[in-house]
Subunit: 136 residues, 4 copies
């Protein structure tokens, strides 16, 4: 598990006065990029090396709204990492309260979209990620 | 089932050249508002009358990317409508191909966040929506 | 002058209950793409042919807010088109009232960022655009 | 002058591979909120006290693109603060290079939109801001 923070911006709120629900999907991406950075595999480097990880699915449960200037703590867990795809779990907190639980699932393909065998083409990354996998 | 269209904008694309996955969540909202409009219950009127429908969950499966200037056809189905919440199903198409399947679940509360009994406070709307419910 | 429409989405509103000011910049892009489409030069085709038009400047004056479900009519005028850059003027209306006036300025470069002479490399497009230029 | 940082997110990039120009408007808002926080007047408190500062104009010049994971340093200067409106200047840097220069102008009104005399209704805030004003 790694964690990061997102401060809710004014432009992320909507007419109900709270952060619009679509933004949580963006914070998940932000948290994922941060996870990889902390793990020593900055996404920009992976991208340069020819790896892409398109999102193939997301699910999000919203427990309580957050709003402008709230500091959201995001726990990120890699809960699966296979040959062709991986899965990430997110739990977001405002203070001590869990405000959101979510998952994203990603494919592992070449930057040009072609199928790759991650364990053969990016063995070091593959092994590093396998070591990060944990129970949700 | 009702349907509407969304033309993918340039500002909705990302560095991979395709529509960013977070935007589909916004198109779902767009399609939902359009559904209510077509059903004769424009959301803005409901809002004025004191009704809110905060999103309590979403799930999205991405089958194939779409990009700038693609015209996405969205089928919207109300698949459940109860006393306290309702559920919507979305299928998005580009040409004949289904590019995305998704759901959103919503609470039914007062604009001030208080609990309401929709069937008692908005009986006409409640009955109209019950009549729209269909199998997925 | 060409015109198009944008219906304000819920996700475009903010905590003040009105469309967030950053979205107007996106509507300008939307209107620009629509202008080119109407002029017979869809941007996606130009992009395929190797042309890019990065934004080098914008200015926007906001006269009156708009909000969810408002239908904004956008007048787009090409007010300058030269060898290396062009300029576009926008006027947005809600009903009869002018709610926003704006401009954007764009470079004309190759998709790879290299300098090009638009009049020589895309002479037909260049001439078509010159013919669209009008006083603001 | 106060400064803050924004790390460019993947979801802020577009099909050209760079941060979409509309996002700079959002970073300006982010920097403005941070300026007020650093000055001891968090915007959320001002909002609670009944003050709003709707954007009445922006202008932005883009000198060089930035992209995913770039750390943008933003210099914010309050360059005017009057009875009814104020003006802010922004300079954004990536490394040592200035990538963007911008301004925003804001009205000072009650949260309900009514006209106010800031110097009388919020004298402490007014004086604090007057003291922050500097040449651009």
């Amino acid at each position: 598990m790694k964690e990061c923070y997102h401060v809710v911006q004014y432009y992320e709120t909507d007419r109900m006065g709270m952060a619009h629900h679509s933004n949580y999907i963006r914070w998940m991406e932000e948290a994922r990029a941060d996870f990889l950075m902390q793990a020593g595999w900055p996404f920009r480097e992976l991208e340069k090396a020819g790896l892409a990880s398109p999102v193939i699915g997301v699910d999000v449960e919203y427990f309580r709204p957050v709003t402008f200037s709230d500091k959201v703590r995001i726990e990120v867990r890699l809960i699966g990492f296979g040959i062709a795809k991986f899965k990430v779990s997110y739990r977001m907190f405002c203070g001590l309260e869990c405000v959101c639980a979510a998952h994203s699932e990603h494919g592992l393909v070449g930057s040009d979209g072609r199928h790759i065998r991650i364990s053969e083409e990016f063995p070091e990354f593959y092994n590093a990620m396998r070591a990060e996998v944990e129970e949700e």
